[in-house]
Symmetry: C2
Subunit: 303 residues, 2 copies
């Protein structure tokens, strides 16, 4: 099952060096989700060929502008492009007021339903569940309420080996049981083991998104054994004091979290405008966690 | 005296084909002014090397998103870049509320004064006057209150010819009179004509900005004899019905206005997403008004 993330923006605070503010696109089995939506996100979507109408779910971590200033424009464009199906928006409650006032004064009546789910920054909760995956918030520690998000695939059923099932003439009503691992007994009383008639399901994978936060340990446990972790790395570790002061993380700290929490792959992003060349941030993280990659714009990573 | 306009965005409604929503930069004798600020304007400024701190005045025509969604991000970036000097903002009154609510929920206290001048859409008024120029609003006819802006250079003083003045030993106290065209009488009673001792001042030029509007004639008189007119041309004339319905102008109508009002140069922009190639709009306008140019992004026009 496809599970990948495409980076639309990697800058913190302000756009700089052709780096845009934060936004990411998740593709989970062809369901397209957006995480954060900094200014210029719709232009980035055009650049990388991501269609407005494919997105039904948008998750906003917090109300600093570099994470949501592009949302009003994206919703307006969806509206102008004739969207009618609902958009599901998961965000701090105040965002609704920010959107509403702008629609009001522009005389815009959005032609599709916006199903607003207000996130809460006190405790982790499951905010979305589909057939394939669910989404849980992570409580981060930033200057204003901020949640991360974990996207976890569900454990899937075993996959039937068609030839074997046809050969034994197993009735179709039995297949759901077989997929759950229940052995089949034929009319002569022979037991056919489920594991011989099916193959293992895909191992469920998970993606965690952590931006912006002080690396203070309070949320690390949510990240245990996650496959791919995106973690903000605004500064290098020589700027640790500045990172603490602004409730941000250094690339070394992000790498330490990845190592401690048994992550498979770490993506770092939300880079400060002080770094034109990002290689030093990458190399610093790799001293601790070799499987680190820069969340460069336009790149797609398998989760 | 320098008087030129640089185009940062030429798209209507939504960004498309690498065209950004509306924004323009005016340079009048090294004073840098911004007109409208669609989403991604600050990214365009980076692209074309326009520094945040050079801009002290921003004019917003109306509260459709393609004309102001980039403003909150630009102000935030000015703040994060340590600005302390005032920013003068001329815009419909409701914009203040839109900005304030976003600063409130992001916990941002802007470190520089924003001097907000609420424009009114009932009658034309002078909203800014400097030593070099003044700015007047034009009442346009759009779906929501919308003003255009005219930037008019002031009539300057005559320029003293230094060699002649030195030769005649004209006292420096007399120079301001000479610049106003008053003749000099020397101690022997000889009259030295001001026009012989000075050269003509620069002819004051003017730039008018009209976006978005129905071409209904109510505002044409404000445009009489303007040097350079930017006028929206959202559609070609075969879409005149659609233009009327949406309170927009066709390229043919824009050209007719330019011809009737004795304009020297016409810039057309605010192009509908239906036009990938803009040449047909240009050619249509030039059938009526040959001195028409496309307001292409990154291009600078002398006024």
């Amino acid at each position: 099952m496809k599970f990948e993330v495409t980076i639309l923006g990697s800058s913190s605070a302000t756009p700089i060096f052709h780096r845009n503010p934060t936004s990411q696109i998740l593709n989970i089995n062809e369901k397209i989700l957006m995480i954060d939506c900094g200014e210029g996100t719709q232009q980035q979507m055009l650049r990388y060929g991501i269609k407005y109408h494919k997105i039904d779910h948008i998750f906003i971590s917090h109300l600093h502008g570099d994470h949501f200033f592009g949302l009003i424009g994206l919703i307006s464009s969806m509206h102008l492009n004739g969207r009618t199906k609902p958009l599901y928006l998961f965000a701090p409650p105040e965002l609704q007021e920010i959107l509403d006032i702008q629609f009001k004064y522009s005389g815009t009546i959005i032609k599709f339903p916006i199903e607003f789910h207000a996130t809460q920054a006190q405790k982790s909760e499951v905010i979305l569940e589909t057939n394939d995956f669910f989404v849980e918030t992570i409580i981060l520690n930033h200057r204003i309420p901020c949640t991360g998000f974990i996207f976890k695939q569900k454990i899937k059923l075993r996959k039937v080996i068609k030839e074997k099932v046809n050969q034994l003439e197993i009735p179709s009503q039995f297949l759901p049981l077989l997929k759950r691992g229940i052995d089949f007994i034929d009319k002569d009383g022979n037991i056919h083991k489920a594991e011989d008639l099916t193959t293992d399901p895909d191992v469920p994978r998970s993606y965690a998104y952590c931006s912006d936060t002080l690396a203070d340990g309070s949320y690390f446990r949510y990240l245990q054994d996650v496959d791919t972790l995106y973690h903000e790395s605004t500064f290098m570790h020589d700027m640790q004091d500045r990172a603490k002061e602004t409730f941000h993380t250094t690339s070394l700290e992000a790498a330490q979290i990845a190592r401690e929490m048994n992550i498979s792959k770490l993506l770092i992003g939300h880079f400060s405008a002080r770094y034109r060349d990002l290689t030093p941030l990458l190399l610093e993280a790799r001293t601790v966690f070799p499987e680190t990659y820069l969340a460069n714009e336009g790149e797609t990573f398998m989760v």
